[in-house]
Structures are given as structure tokens and as C-alpha cells.
Amino acid sequence: MSFYAFVFLLVWVLLLIFLIVKYHFQLRVFGPGAVLLTLLLGVFVLTFPCAVSSADSNLPGIVLICHALFSFLSYGAFTLAFCSASLYVAHERLLKNKSLGLLQQHLPSLEALAELCFKFVSVGVPLLSLGILAGAIWSNLTYGYYLSFRPKELWSIFSWLFFGGYLALHQLAGWSKHKLVYLLIFGSLLVILFYMGVQLL
């Protein structure tokens, strides 16, 4: 899949998840943030050539669709975890600097934001696992091997290890929410950079 199509799909997945979250958690502040993010992504991707990769017509379609669907839902969940984590950092800064205006009344509590990060990642990791599994099966059906250690596959595995590691630390290590949130932001940025590298280099 081209980078263009990837980001474009991600935009739609984000908007979908955002709508679910908005109605489920009643977060006022999420709206503008999510719309802005999707808009930026949309504009950003329009600067790339719209190259449609020629899909092989005799590919086992359903496995590929599963692979794409699960992967994308997981990317959406991780992106929103990243958004929640960023909101946490912003809100914490406001509280620490005591520079709270009306904005702070629209922000969810630190506890709620940290919980949101965890929930998004816990949804994202199983979805990514399914996505990787479907991808491997598809690869085996098409090329005869499960894993070829191409950069993109390594990227998926790195993402899986990172977010899985975050979940493990959250549940087992007794880390503070503050540390976990910074880990999440740092790791997510690495994942994004890694992906850009995979796509563009």
C-alpha cells in the first residue's frame, strides 16, 4: 500500500474511533484536537504523489482485508493513545505552572487521561496482533513464507513489542502514570519516525 493510501485510510479510521470515543466518554476537548489532527494528516498526505499500487488480482482477498482492517484499527487506537498522552502532558504542565484558565475546565482529569491511554493501547495491541497474524498468513499463502524481515515487517514487530511492553509495565512494574505517559509519547514518536523511514528512504 502506498504512503498516500496509508495516511488517507488512517484519517478515516481516526475519525471513526474519535466519534465512538466522543459519545462514549463525553469529552469536549477531544473534538477540535481530533479534527485538527486528521486535517493536518490529510493536508500532509496530499503533498505526496497519489501512487496506487497494482494489487495482485489472485491474492487471497479475505486474509488481506483482515490484515488491513485490524492493522488500521490498531494504528487508529495507538494514535488516539498518543493524543491522550499529549493531553496528559499539557494538562500536567498547566497544573504545575498554575496557569489554569477556562481551558482546564474542559480537559479530562489527569487520572482519566492516563486511563484513556491505557485503554487505547489495550485495544490496539490485540488488534495489531491479529493484523500481523493475518499479514503473516497472507504472506505465506502468497509467497510461501511467513516472515521476510522486510523493513515494514520489522516496523510492525517493533510497534507490537513497544506497545506490548507498555502494557506489561503498566500492569506489572508499578510505574507512575507520569512515567508511563512519557514512555508512551517517546515510543509512539519512535514508531512514527521508524515508519516514515521505512516508507520514504
Binding site: L95, L100, S109, E111, G174, S176
Partner: protein
């Protein structure tokens, strides 16, 4: 023809010493309403009496006479001489009356702009007047529209957002850190009016449990009874700080009770759970450097005061939006009024 009329006294025209003389408690409202309704030329009547204002809304066919009677009625009620309340009353008629009650209901006539209490007081006053059969078609419609304006002002603008007292600011801050206060413990160190208020407000928000500590243990025990909490010894303070999540401190200690190193040690035992210190004491109880620690949030009395000021300013900025709502509600009222006039009602 029946005219709307208003006679009132409020925090802008009279100090508390005079306002309290004409304050009419809820239990006396229906008797007073009946007394006013007996006066000649007065058709409908409604009394709104709160700590900041006593206002009498009327419909009358003779404004001048009605007002004169009412003033002497209220002067008699106050027990002050004829000149005791001179210059305290304000009068309105026609649309200005509608404007006033809408401003009151919307909270922009209050001492604390946007306060929520007044809308409930307006509703109660209206209900009592209706029950006492003191109101008729005109006042009923005016008050229904005013209550609707009050509700809209709070729902559609930020006029009542943001804490505007020190204790409610402390609660609002706690809510910024913790999602559900019923999962968290609070500790009160020292006794003082301000910390009591803040503690009471947090407790009324459903805080899980309360610990009370004071240098004299018996005093702590007294306070603990008051807050339905547990008294703990002053020497065990640091042990308990590892458990509680919100601390309100207001001792008379001349030096810092909690220094950065001590709190850093406590934080290590809390496994990353954040803690919120509210230091209301002057001189301060908690070293300001404590606030630099990770997962520690420290607010002193000045910080809280500044937030109150910020929120008050933010509320003031919303007043034009509320005035627009009032304008719209007045238009709707006028439409109703004119159609009633055409049909020959309201005589």
C-alpha cells in the same frame, strides 16, 4: 391596564445591616404576600428575598400609589424609622422589570457573577407565590421566561463555569487531578476556618475518607468527629502521607512542616500515585520546592486566590452573551404580551 412594577433593595443599594432588616424568610413569604396583595391597586405580587436582595414584583394599575404603599409596608416590616431605608430602594416599571428579573435569574446581577444559587431561589420564590395564589397570567409568564433565560445562560454560556471561591477552587483542582474523588483519601493538618470550608466541600463531593491531624491530639479528635473522619497523631504524619491523596494544611506553625526531602521520601513509598497539597497556612506549612517533585501538585493560598480572580474575569467576559439571551427571551415575552393585548387580555 395592568402594569409591571418592581420595588427592591439589593447589595448595590444597601449594606447587609439594612438588607437583613427587610429580609423575608421562606416561612413568612406567603403571609407577607397576602399582606401585600390586600393593599389597594395591587393585582399580582411576588417576593424574591435572598441574602443579597429583597425584590417585590407587582402588577398594578397605579404605579405611583402601589409603590408608595409598598415602601411604607416594607419600612414598617423593617422596624426602622421612616428615614432608615431612605435611598435604598430602586423602582422599575414595564420592560425594565422584565430585564431586571432576567438578569437576576441569569446570575449577572449577583455579587458573584454566575452563581448557581440564585436561579433556585427565583424558582422557589415563584413556586411559593403561585401556591399562595399571589401571581396571575402576567407575572407567571414573566417568571417562566426569566427562569428559562437563567437556565439558558448557564447551559449556553460559560457564565457559571470556573470556581470563584477558594474552597471550590480547591475542589475543582482536585477534580483536575483525580477522576473520582470517592476513591481518594483526604488529610487535614491543623484547624482553621478556611481549611474546614475546603474540607467540607471536598467531603460533600464524596471523598472516600478523612484523616485529621493536629499538634494537640484532642483538637484533632474534635475535628475528626465533625468530619466523620479519623484522628491521627502529629508524629505519624509522614506515615499517613503515603496513603492519602489530598492534603489540606493550615497550621499556625512558624516554619515549614514539610520539606522537599521528606516529601521525596514519601513519594517513593506511593508508587507513583500523585498527591495534591493545598497549603492554606500563612506562613506556609509546605516548602514551595515540594511542588517541583514529580507527581506532586502544590497550591498555596495565593495560587488559589489568583485562580479565583482569573475565573471571575472569565465569567465577566461571558456577560454580553448572557445579555443576548436575555434580549431573545424578552422578545419572546413581548410577542406573547402583544398577542394577549390584541385579544383583549391582561386588563
Amino acid at each position: 391596564m395592568q402594569q409591571l412594577s418592581l420595588l427592591g433593595i439589593n447589595h448595590k443599594t444597601a449594606p447587609i445591616e439594612l438588607r437583613e432588616k427587610v429580609y423575608i424568610p421562606e416561612t413568612r413569604l406567603s403571609v407577607t404576600l397576602a399582606g401585600i396583595k390586600k393593599l389597594p391597586k395591587i393585582n399580582e405580587c411576588l417576593i424574591l428575598s435572598t441574602c443579597n436582595r429583597t425584590e417585590v414584583y407587582l402588577t398594578t394599575t397605579n404605579q405611583g400609589q402601589a409603590t408608595e404603599q409598598l415602601i411604607s409596608f416594607l419600612v414598617k416590616l423593617s422596624g426602622l424609622g421612616k428615614n432608615g431605608l431612605r435611598g435604598c430602594f430602586y423602582k422599575n416599571e414595564g420592560l425594565a422589570v422584565v430585564d431586571q428579573i432576567m438578569r437576576v435569574a441569569a446570575g449577572i446581577d449577583s455579587m458573584i457573577v454566575g452563581e448557581g444559587q440564585v436561579l433556585k431561589q427565583v424558582k422557589d420564590a415563584f413556586q411559593i407565590a403561585q401556591k399562595s395564589k399571589a401571581t396571575g397570567a402576567l407575572l407567571n409568564t414573566v417568571f417562566n421566561r426569566a427562569i428559562s433565560a437563567g437556565k439558558r445562560a448557564r447551559a449556553e454560556t460559560d457564565i457559571s463555569r470556573g470556581a470563584v471561591s477558594v474552597s471550590s477552587t480547591a475542589v475543582a483542582l482536585a477534580r483536575n487531578i483525580f477522576e473520582d474523588l470517592s476513591h481518594h483519601q483526604i488529610m487535614i493538618i491543623g484547624a482553621g476556618k478556611m481549611s474546614e470550608l475546603a474540607a467540607k466541600q471536598l467531603i460533600s463531593c464524596g471523598i472516600k475518607s478523612t484523616l485529621v491531624s493536629n499538634r494537640t491530639f484532642t483538637k484533632a479528635q474534635e475535628l475528626a468527629v465533625q468530619f466523620a473522619g479519623t484522628a491521627v497523631r502529629f508524629d505519624d504524619l509522614e506515615k499517613h502521607l503515603a496513603q492519602v491523596d489530598i492534603v489540606i494544611s493550615s497550621t499556625g506553625a512558624p516554619h515549614f512542616l514539610l520539606k522537599q526531602e521528606a516529601v521525596a521520601k514519601i513519594m517513593a513509598r506511593r508508587f507513583g500515585r500523585p498527591i495534591f497539597f493545598i497549603d492554606i497556612a500563612v506562613p506556609r506549612d509546605i516548602d514551595p520546592k515540594v511542588g517541583e517533585l514529580e507527581d506532586v501538585f502544590l497550591y498555596d493560598i495565593d495560587d488559589l486566590g489568583k485562580l479565583v480572580e482569573v475565573n471571575k474575569r472569565e465569567r465577566a467576559k461571558e456577560i454580553p452573551k448572557v445579555e443576548k439571551i436575555i434580549f431573545e427571551e424578552k422578545e419572546r415575552l413581548m410577542k406573547w404580551y402583544n398577542s394577549r393585548l390584541e385579544r383583549g387580555g391582561l386588563r
